[in-house]
Symmetry: C2
Subunit: 111 residues, 2 copies
Amino acid sequence: MGKLVTEMLKGTLEGIVLAVLGGRPAYGYEITAWLRDQGFSDIAEGTVYALLVRIEQRGLVDVRKVPSEKGPPRKVYSLNAQGQAYLEEFWRTWSFLAERLEQLREEGPQT
Amino acid sequence: MGKLVTEMLKGTLEGIVLAVLGGRPAYGYEITAWLRDQGFSDIAEGTVYALLVRIEQRGLVDVRKVPSEKGPPRKVYSLNAQGQAYLEEFWRTWSFLAERLEQLREEGPQT
DNA sequence: CTCGCTATTCGGTGTTGCTAGGTACTAGTA
DNA sequence: TACTAGTACCTAGCAACACCGAATAGCGAG
């Protein structure tokens, strides 16, 4: 896509991934593929893996290794209680930002 | 506010400021005050000024100096044609992202 | 046995917002 | 005079995050 998306993803990609994990456990490769499917056509693989490491270190997810038939073992991440709480905080922040922007788009800044 | 907002602002703050300038010309100090009014309570002044320098260097805005009665002269920025085009591109990108997130929030990832 | 797909990891880069100051001009006040 | 506060702008160094490119590793097909 472009630089605009890249910059906007900072801060939101993390929430997106957490939201995915909120729905069901998943592993890196799978998440990357899903994101590309959703239109984030040029998400870098490395980006997703780095993000997963971060949220694991922050204790937002649990991990378990699952053998794969076609390749190295998968690291399957699932959202834990702390991650759930963080995700809710993310949605609140997102709502705040989205409301401000929607208002700006419709009305312009109130004079 | 918090780190979450800070990270989310990366990539969107620029669009926000351009949108403000799309409504009317404005200067840095004024924009900062307006943002704080809108709930972005701890936007740093330096952030806004640095951003304005960037968008000026990219040729998205026109600038003129206007004397002030109570302080140094103001640098009043206004959106030019190139900035207008960029702003529209920003809105398209924003819409894309917002749609994906809204979908995620409501449905969860489709299994 | 090499090619392609699955799956993860890592080092270095660029952009961006923040911190924490500084400069400069005006007006009010002790 | 000296100080304080409000207006208005600028800068250097920092941290976080997404990107790029490459490497590693296992498996099946040709």
